[in-house]
């Protein structure tokens, strides 16, 4: 039974996990870097333990420091949040060895989906459609495979994530250089230079299916559309994915569940698909074995607390929800408020937050870790807050979101709040069902002075 938990993360997700744990009566210990010992999550947690200096390789990415902290405070479990060590099989194994529950899938699951090529082969075995492509180990081999895959194509890191080690290649002449660059980037980011090629679908949509499993049963908790991206970073997410024709939605759900069943998956997971609604087609992209940043839109639609369900199955219990218990109602949208300045070439804006005011009221939720006086350290990503709006239908949710953004004030650091207002108000987004190329087109339509350099 989980009575005391170590939260090996920071920022809004640490605050969000603490909130659920406190409501469940679980004692919280935050594992914080030196840069975060005064943070809001550190104030919210029952206790805080230092795990190292600010730069994440010395703290949040240090498996030994996290396990030492968990053992030292006699935590029953470690919650890794997202990013950092959340999908690190070595941490999961070290937790098992130390007799501590890792709140996530088993090390075997992490191995199976962390390596994109292994994940692809599991997806194929489970009957999921995937894009043509495969591993390449030399430029000559890449040229041969590219011929079969067709142009344009993507060069991707086998160990990839967050858009690193990723290149779009338009023609044969660019391929060798792209392979070199992507391989160097992959080594630097993941310590693994392996690459694979995949056909690039320029007008696809990014739709993902939320899953929950207990190692035997798997259910889905609906889908999300995360097509509004800049350089592979999601900015706006919504649920359900708008305007999927016919039975495409239920086919996506079925496919995602089939993959997780094959893996006998335990915990929260997400299967990402590239979807072309016009052709009634979809392809498997990858599976994420953690809680996602955008999980609140799913919670808004279903009324579930996904972290509570995640803890429940991590503690060894079976699912307490059947598929028919998951009822989706209305529409929800999330905007990621980042400390970055769209008007200055998206320059990151670390510093100290001065004033903060968030919207509150029916249909509005804000997940954040900042309050007046909060430091925004330069070591980590720039997410300050997630504003989530829920309404009976999409227009209502978007209306609530626009009102909510107008009531959001963050002084002291630059933010992208105004940029979000522009995105939400754009005719293309208002219609719904934009593809992953939408944000680049939107940026090109803006006046030169505003965020033109997307």
């Amino acid at each position: 039974m989980i009575r005391r938990i170590l939260i090996a993360n920071r920022g809004e997700i640490a605050a969000r996990i603490i909130r659920t744990c406190s409501a469940l009566g679980i004692e919280t210990v935050l594992a914080a870097s030196d840069a975060d010992v005064e943070s809001t999550p550190a104030r919210m947690a029952d206790r805080t333990v230092r795990i190292g200096p600010g730069p994440s390789p010395m703290s949040y990415l240090n498996v030994d420091a996290v396990v030492r902290a968990a053992v030292a405070v006699r935590a029953d479990a470690v919650h890794p949040g997202y990013g950092f060590l959340s999908e690190n099989a070595r941490l999961a194994r070290a937790c098992v060895a130390a007799g501590v529950v890792f709140v996530g899938p088993t090390p075997k699951h992490l191995d199976a989906v962390g390596d994109k090529l292994t994940a692809r082969s599991h997806a194929v075995a489970a009957g999921l459609p995937r894009l043509p492509g495969g591993e390449v180990s030399s430029a000559a081999e890449a040229q041969r495979m590219a011929h079969a895959v067709g142009w344009p194509l993507l060069v991707k890191a086998v160990a990839g994530g967050g858009g690193r080690g990723l290149r779009v290649v338009e023609s044969s002449a660019e391929l060798a250089a792209a392979i070199d660059e992507a391989s160097a980037e992959a080594v630097a980011a993941f310590g693994d230079s392996r690459l694979y090629l995949e056909r690039f679908v320029p007008h696809g949509r990014h739709v993902e299916v939320q899953l929950l499993g207990d190692g035997r049963q798997v259910i889905h908790v609906g889908d999300r559309d995360c097509s509004v991206q800049r350089r592979y970073q999601k900015l706006v997410e919504e649920a359900p994915a708008p305007g999927l024709p016919g039975d495409l939605r239920s086919r996506l759900h079925t496919a995602a569940v089939a993959l997780a069943r094959r893996l006998r998956y335990r915990g929260l997971g997400t299967v990402e698909f590239l979807v072309e609604p016009e052709r009634d087609a979809f392809w498997f992209l990858e599976m994420n074995a953690r809680i996602q940043v955008e999980h609140p839109v799913t919670e808004a639609l279903t009324g579930l607390d996904l972290v509570a369900e995640q803890l429940h199955v991590a503690d060894g219990h079976g699912l307490r929800l059947a598929q028919e218990d998951v009822v989706v109602s209305g529409h929800a949208v999330e905007c990621r408020i980042n400390a970055e300045d769209p008007a200055q070439g998206w320059r990151p804006s670390p510093g100290v937050v001065d004033q903060v005011a968030f919207p509150v009221g029916a249909g509005v939720r804000v997940d954040s870790h900042i309050q007046p006086g909060s430091a925004v350290p330069p070591f980590y990503d720039s997410l300050l807050a997630k504003v989530i709006a829920h309404g009976p239908d999409r227009p209502a949710a978007l209306g609530t979101m626009l009102e909510a953004l107008r009531r959001t004030t963050i002084d002291g650091v630059a933010t992208n709040i105004e940029f979000h207002v522009g995105v939400l108000g754009s005719p293309e987004f208002q219609v719904g069902g934009v593809d992953t190329g939408f944000l680049a087109r939107h940026l090109n339509r803006l006046p030169e002075t505003v965020a033109r350099r997307g």
């Binding site: 104030r43 230092r50 200096p53 509150v360 309050q371």
Partner: protein
Amino acid sequence: MSLHPDDVTEILALLDSLDLDEFRLRTQRFALTLRRGEGGWTRIDQVLTAPHVVDVAEDPAADPAEGTAPAAARAPADGAAADHAGLHEVRTPLMGTFYRAPRPGAPPFVQVGDRVGPDTVIGIVETMKLMNSVPAGIAGTVQEICVPDAGFVQRDAVLVRIAPLDPGDR
């Protein structure tokens, strides 16, 4: 502990029924202000509880030498200007982590004694997971590298000093 969002919802319901426009509550643990505006309610809240930081004593990583590493890596104060008369200072536009090489193990972008042009990259400053290349900004010879690899730099800290190319030498 802080307020749960459900607590705030209940307070709001009460305020709506009372027709109040502003509500302030301050305890030892938190401060909450709720304000009614044109589009709806706004909250300003703050967790006041001090962090309860515990030390994990037997932790070898808690060695003070390691703990102070980033402070030691901080850019030196630019007080000793006299020694640097006539040198061009390349400063970082952002606070972050300074890297001398494009990736771990690779040769550094520049070494002391290297000739550079205005566009020569002298290093990278990583801020919030973004890598920003820093150009020399001037033609000349690298005289001093002021920050160790992976050292933390404040905004405007001097990264490198360059002796400008004397126009008479050309």
